[in-house]
Symmetry: C2
Subunit: 113 residues, 2 copies
Amino acid sequence: MLQILGLIGSKWSILIIGQLRDRTLRFGELHRTVNGISQRMLTLTLRQLERDGLLTRTVHPSVPPRVDYTLSELGATLLDSVVALGEWATTHRQEINDNRSRYDATHPRQPPS
Amino acid sequence: MLQILGLIGSKWSILIIGQLRDRTLRFGELHRTVNGISQRMLTLTLRQLERDGLLTRTVHPSVPPRVDYTLSELGATLLDSVVALGEWATTHRQEINDNRSRYDATHPRQPPS
């Protein structure tokens, strides 16, 4: 349960799953549409999602090989909750940023650790 | 958006928010009910959730002081999605573990990094 939440709870997994809603994307397309993700983190997250059976990786025998990613049936069952989380974050972003500013103004900074 | 997903997407945040559904808990109670969390990680995650305005921290002036945590109104709006994720993870845990075993049996191990 913890391990599974650890995966589906990662922000990168949430963003990748959201991008694969209703479409198939190649590695390079995912790299462009998931803002801020490094190639390495994208590679690792895709591998974890494939390992868990949440997405399907298809290698087309072209030159150079084309690799497609698409949500599996299992991945699709996760989509509603993931989309809901993303929409919640978008809706409440400003409110949360305001809360953070207010908190920081009234709390002494903790020593870095 | 990324920062916000980074917080609400952490497994510990998800588990803590789930535990605070419909009830107020003290630090020690959270530490006992959120399996596997260290005191330090619980402290850090609670501080982040408080900073974001997702929960309310109340210090009662007893000896020793009692500190309660409860979901804020904003935190309560996140509850449905969080509970849905947790239920998804519980429902599909076995299937995902099977997928992982199958993947590991058919893929050479990656070098550690």
